[in-house]
Amino acid sequence: MQKMAIWKAKQWLSRSFSSMPSNPLRVCVVGSGPAGFYTAEKMLKVQQQAQVDIIDRLPTPFGLVRSGVAPDHPETKIVINQFSRVAQHERCSFFGTVTLGSSISLSELRELYHVVVLAYGAESDRSLGIPGENLKGIHSAREFVWWYNGHPDGRNLDPDLKSTDTAVILGQGNVALDVARILLRPTTELATTDIASHALSALEESSIRKVYLVGRRGPAQAACTAKELREILGLRNLDISIQEPDLILTPDVEEGLTSNRIQRRVYELLSKAATSRPKNDAGLSKRQLHFVFFRKPDSFIESKDRHGHASGVYFEKTVLKGVGPGKQIAIGTGEFEVINCGLVLKSIGYKSIPVDGLPFDHKKGIVPNDRGRVLSDTSGDSILEEGLYVCGWLKRGPTGIVATNLHCAEETVSSISEDLEKGVLSSSSPKPGRDGLLQLLNDRNVRVVSFSDWEKIDSEERKLGSSRNKPREKLATWDELQKYTL
């Protein structure tokens, strides 16, 4: 294996000598999601001297486009074509299975490169901090999404979908709608997507018929967007239930809606669904989706029969309190209610994880930054971390669509360009860059996966998929993934 790595390293070395400008600006982007790829693309374009290496902890590139975006959203994944062209650019390389924080430290990376851009996303979860959160049957939406999308770290989740007919999803953002849709969509429709086969089998046997989507605020504050909402409201064989009194707006909220296009359109869709759906025709439709508003989770209930298992969620009812123009928060009323269920998915937001030596704002869950320039701390008079930048969810927090990262990358790259112009950042003293990285990884016996290795995985996945009428069958364990890159 080591021999192989050295051979590959040599291959890269010779390639880098042939295609490189004489005094390159060595850039390393950490993370190959949308933020990483858009950063690389913009860097290559505006800095003709730049040589860009993208590292990722996985052997597969594209971040959440592969492991987040729902399997029944193939159109959203088309952006992979554009990212692949970036990876194949002569001044760009992809190095998979390289983990910042274990394969290589941040300080080592900063020694090797003139510029390091951190775009490693948000791979943890916000927590509720309420009693019973660790009971079995409660998962974060992130883990559940990884599981159905074939992320190798989600393979062992094995959620129990057979012991209950009811799931509660906490949160009403787009991720909550994604996971609800996966639980409710007829599996015959999922079968022709790139959903992981272990997840498809489990969903085929699922006994879940009723899903509660619970928000702590009202239908005018729901975090989802119209596209995802429209889609779930139109699912086949699904009864939608929305309590009409929940749709009543206070004058304040109503006024706020006039200037917020997204929320207004979401509210209108929910109102239409509440009134236009035939009710009580359970005989016809097999599955139910209940939108529950004004309930905040208070604690989880442990099952009497199954030790250590959740059997329901206690909710406190809420009312809205205005805290500024167009802004309302949920306040508990002291009245409680239980929803019994055997499965809970917490979809209340992702959270980034800091690595050693990286300034981190634990309150906001982001790296403190000034338009992408990493700052030494969160105080007003903090200093710049030379050559260190940030982009994507790690920079802004875990919100925004794929396209948001495009503008985010434009901002970070323009900060880098400004710093180069001003001389705050310089590439005049040569740095080892790619050669140094590969040398160091080779010394540590870290086997690097190249973009062409990924293409082998890709073609294997497509091959496996085509025999099953799927666009691809994802290799969903570390072992399988490694097998195809050896």
């Binding site: 952006v79 997507t193 119209a226 296009r261 997204i262 396209a403 503008h407």
Partner: protein, 195 residues
């Protein structure tokens, strides 16, 4: 009736257009529609979709089946379009009738993003129609286009998605601005004041 008109137009387009990848940017390719078979989806698209498509057509959608079929479209083969890029520079191009603004931009090396290659799933092809008269000549955006526009960066009152604006004779002379990046994009679908 409608179908035959569309098919006729399709045949006419196939005859007149440099066909290279033309249909790559055809409208709403994933929504069930009465489209003509001259339009082949692009390769990448076929790859992603080699299974029965999921039907997205439902109670909550409006889908316009046909939007390029205009009277007289056979008479003029190309219209003039001006793209104003992020730095305010103007690009004057000719766009064949029936071609989307996204594809036209790409054929002319104009930098308009198109992350989902025209399948109405990304909003990166957002353009601002600079004159209201031209904006009014466009068919109303479908719910699906509006859903994507919700998330477009720098939305204005005359915003449209470039992959959904199809060249037709009345649009001759249209000017389209590619929205400039502003600093504030931290919020989903950040909406600046209308222009």
């Amino acid at each position: 009736m409608l179908i035959s008109r569309v098919a006729k137009l399709g045949a006419c387009l196939a005859k007149h257009l440099p066909t290279r990848n033309y249909a790559a940017m055809s409208r709403l390719p994933y929504i069930q529609r009465t489209t003509n078979h001259h339009m082949q989806p692009p390769l990448s698209f076929t790859k992603l979709y080699n299974g029965p498509m999921i039907k997205k057509h439902n109670l909550f959608s409006t889908v316009t089946a046909n939007n390029t079929s205009e009277e007289g479209s056979e008479q003029k083969e190309a219209i003039s379009v001006t793209f104003v890029d992020k730095d305010g520079e103007e690009n004057h191009i000719k766009v064949p009738i029936g071609m989307s603004m996204l594809e036209a931009a790409h054929e002319n090396d104009i930098e308009l993003e198109g992350a989902c290659e025209g399948s109405l799933a990304c909003s990166t092809c957002h353009v601002i129609v600079m004159d209201v008269e031209y904006y009014n000549k466009l068919e109303d955006a479908t719910d699906e286009e509006n859903d994507m526009l919700d998330l477009a960066f720098g939305l204005s009152e005359t915003s449209r998605l470039g992959c959904q604006v199809i060249a037709k004779p009345e649009l001759d002379g249209i000017r389209l601005a590619i929205p400039a990046a502003t600093r504030n994009f931290a919020v989903d679908g950040y909406v600046p004041k209308p222009h």
